[in-house]
């Protein structure tokens, strides 16, 4: 173990404190006995129990999950297709315009995206509900997927696709049988990113959600305006838990894959 200097130690502590102190307090207070969020009155898990009874929160959580899964799946399909065209399509008419338009939502203020979607849905007479949130989330998360996937495709050896064509694949078969399996990790990362963004989103969802469907962030935000309840702390703790498990699991798997690939490469050199 190497020793840290005082300077290193201070910056490390400060950095982590800034990042995680608020969350730590939230987690601690989720186990608070008292109804008052700021007063500690002993350990209890009763707010978790109450949360399970709260229909409104459970409904919102269910909607959020549905929206997240459906929108990130559609966004992954569309984003991957867009990335493939951008990287592999060569030069075609309107390419620059098209690529600019794919990436524009990345820098577009969310309020504007939300507002324009709202106007569109009203314009075409679409009732606001799960469907409209899904459409909205697909729209803005698609560009993130396409950024992730195209960065993988740029480093992808084009001769692999040519080899597939050479061996009798149609262009679609070459994509399905060769390109897609190889870029799969990037596609999955794109899906996870889109899912996280959808789970996270408050602004766009509040523009496009209707009375029939509310997502969890909207629900939390609106109930906080009436005062922070320990129930919300409990809910947030659960969400932090899910995200943490997901991130750790993902990095463990990818680390193991890298280690295995390295071991294979060493074994191959010996034979």
């Amino acid at each position: 173990m190497r020793r840290f200097s005082w300077f290193n130690l201070t910056s490390l502590t400060l950095g982590f404190a800034f990042l995680y102190l608020p969350m730590l307090i939230l987690v601690i207070y989720s186990f608070n006995e008292s109804k008052l969020v700021t007063v500690w009155a002993g350990f209890s898990t009763k707010w978790y129990g109450e949360l399970m009874q709260n229909e409104a929160f459970l409904d919102a959580a269910w909607v959020t999950l549905q929206v997240g899964v459906i929108s990130s799946t559609i966004a992954t399909v569309l984003g991957t297709m867009a990335a493939h065209i951008m990287v592999r399509g060569g030069r075609f008419f309107g390419r620059t315009l098209f690529s600019g338009m794919i990436y524009a939502p990345l820098v577009m203020p969310e309020v504007i995206t939300g507002l324009s979607l709202l106007l569109l849905f009203i314009g075409i007479g679409l009732d606001r509900g799960v469907l409209t949130i899904v459409l909205a989330h697909t729209t803005f998360s698609m560009c993130y997927v396409s950024v992730v996937v195209s960065s993988r495709l740029v480093s992808f050896d084009k001769s692999l696709e040519e080899a597939a064509l050479d061996l009798g694949c149609t262009p679609f078969q070459a994509f399905r049988l060769v390109t897609l399996p190889i870029i799969m990790p990037a596609v999955i990362s794109g899906w996870l990113l889109a899912f996280t963004l959808s789970l996270d989103d408050l602004v766009i969802a509040s523009f496009t959600a209707g009375p029939s469907a509310t997502t969890l962030p909207i629900k939390i935000f609106s109930s906080v305006r009436l005062g922070v309840s320990p129930e919300i702390n409990a809910l947030s703790t659960i969400m932090i838990g899910i995200v943490t498990v997901g991130v750790i699991g993902f990095s463990v798997i990818s680390k193991r894959n890298i280690a295995r690939a390295e071991a294979d490469a060493r074994a191959a050199e010996r034979t």
Binding site: D157, A163, L165, D166, T170, L177
Partner: protein, 378 residues
């Protein structure tokens, strides 16, 4: 070969032979850059044909046009008499072995070889049979279940070869197939490739920048430069009878002497090449006119070095040994003439080096025969 009655394989000399591949006035431009310039070329069935040239000479473009990854800007390419213009890469009777091997990293060795066969929808046991046969051919049966990153570079090269031959293509394209192998493995693999080519009877077209490789494996070589074919011929003719100074210089080591020729009389010319030097007497079948500027190309191993002027020498010049390049089996002597010109002479080291007859600064004579070199039009 004719001694035992077998005919020499030389369909290019037979006017009745139909070529398997025909490039007809093919031009390929990338924007302003002309990669292939109005090129016409025939390649015959069962040939091991090498496209040889420096990088950027257009040889890879030729191959990619055959595979269907590039389309000619002008002209037509025929394979087996059929115009390849409208035919997509996946429908051509052509397979390619890529320089990077392009093995599918997510599939095992077995699945890589079976990939093309599966696309044809062949019955399962037929595919299995064929893959086993291919694995046997490249001696990789034990590695069938491994992934490409679990085998060595030489084994990957063989998987790539097996995969591209599995569909029994009429024509196999090999893009620098041995480029990634080290020298010793390379040499073994060259002979292996020749054996496989002979046994399968497939027409091979190989792209390479390595002249030794081309000379070893090919039945004929096309030497290319800047999108043009400089000469197409058998390795021995390319080496011994180059068509032009570019080919003479590109293939092997050569002494290129510029001079002015007399008119050819009885296929013999006199070339005036330096003040105070005897004119070179050379044999040529070219119609050379008096006073024409020519290059005289002679290989170093055809130049003899001796302490005195050989009595019967047709061409001889005196000089001083400037440099000796010792290669083990051979030594190349750089002999500087009084005119400043350097003539290279290569001698086999039939004796051990301690008994070497010549050393630096020795006054020697270089000589060569009337038929030793080629007269090339400048």
């Amino acid at each position: 070969m004719p001694a035992n009655g077998a005919p020499i394989f030389a369909p290019w000399d037979d006017p009745a032979a139909k070529p398997l591949i025909r490039f007809e006035n093919v031009t390929k431009r990338f924007g302003d850059f002309t990669a292939i310039d109005n090129l016409t070329l025939d390649i015959y069935e069962r040939e091991f044909f090498a496209l040889l040239g420096p990088s950027g000479c257009g040889k890879t473009t030729m191959m990619r046009m055959l595979a269907g990854f590039e389309t000619p800007t002008e002209g037509k390419i025929y394979v087996g008499g059929q115009d390849m213009g409208p035919i997509a890469p996946n429908q051509r009777p052509v397979n390619m072995m890529f320089q990077s091997y392009a093995l599918f990293p997510h599939l095992s060795v077995y699945e890589n070889i079976a990939f093309g066969l599966r696309r044809d929808g062949k019955p399962k046991d037929e595919i299995h049979h064929r893959v086993e046969e291919m694995l046997r051919m490249v001696r990789l049966q034990k590695f069938a279940k491994r992934k490409p990153h679990q085998i060595s570079g030489g084994q990957r090269q063989r998987v790539a070869l097996a995969r591209s031959l599995a569909k029994e293509p009429k024509l196999l394209l090999l893009d620098e197939p041995l480029g990634a192998l080290d020298a010793k493995l390379r040499e073994d693999t060259q002979f292996e490739l020749m054996d496989i080519q002979e046994n399968t009877g497939t027409t091979f077209v190989i792209v390479t920048h390595d002249q030794e490789e081309a000379m070893t494996v090919a039945s004929r070589i096309a030497v290319m430069d800047e999108g043009k074919v400089m000469q197409v011929s058998t390795p021995d003719r390319i080496y011994e009878f180059p068509d032009n100074a570019y080919v003479a210089d590109f293939i092997g080591d050569v002494n290129l002497i510029e001079g002015r020729s007399s008119a050819a009389i009885d296929e013999t010319v006199q070339i005036e090449w330096a003040e105070g030097q005897q004119a070179i007497t050379a044999q040529t079948s070219r119609a050379i006119t008096a006073g024409q500027k020519v290059f005289y190309a002679i290989r170093p191993e055809k130049v003899t070095i001796s302490p005195d002027r050989p009595a019967d020498a047709v061409n001889a010049a005196q000089g001083k040994i400037l440099d000796i390049a010792y290669l083990g089996n051979l030594s190349t002597y750089h002999v500087q003439l009084p005119t400043g010109q350097v003539i290279k002479s290569q001698m086999a080291n039939t004796r051990r080096i301690s008994r070497r007859p010549y050393t630096w600064e020795d006054e020697v004579w270089v000589s060569w025969t009337k038929t030793g070199g080629s007269v090339l039009e400048g």
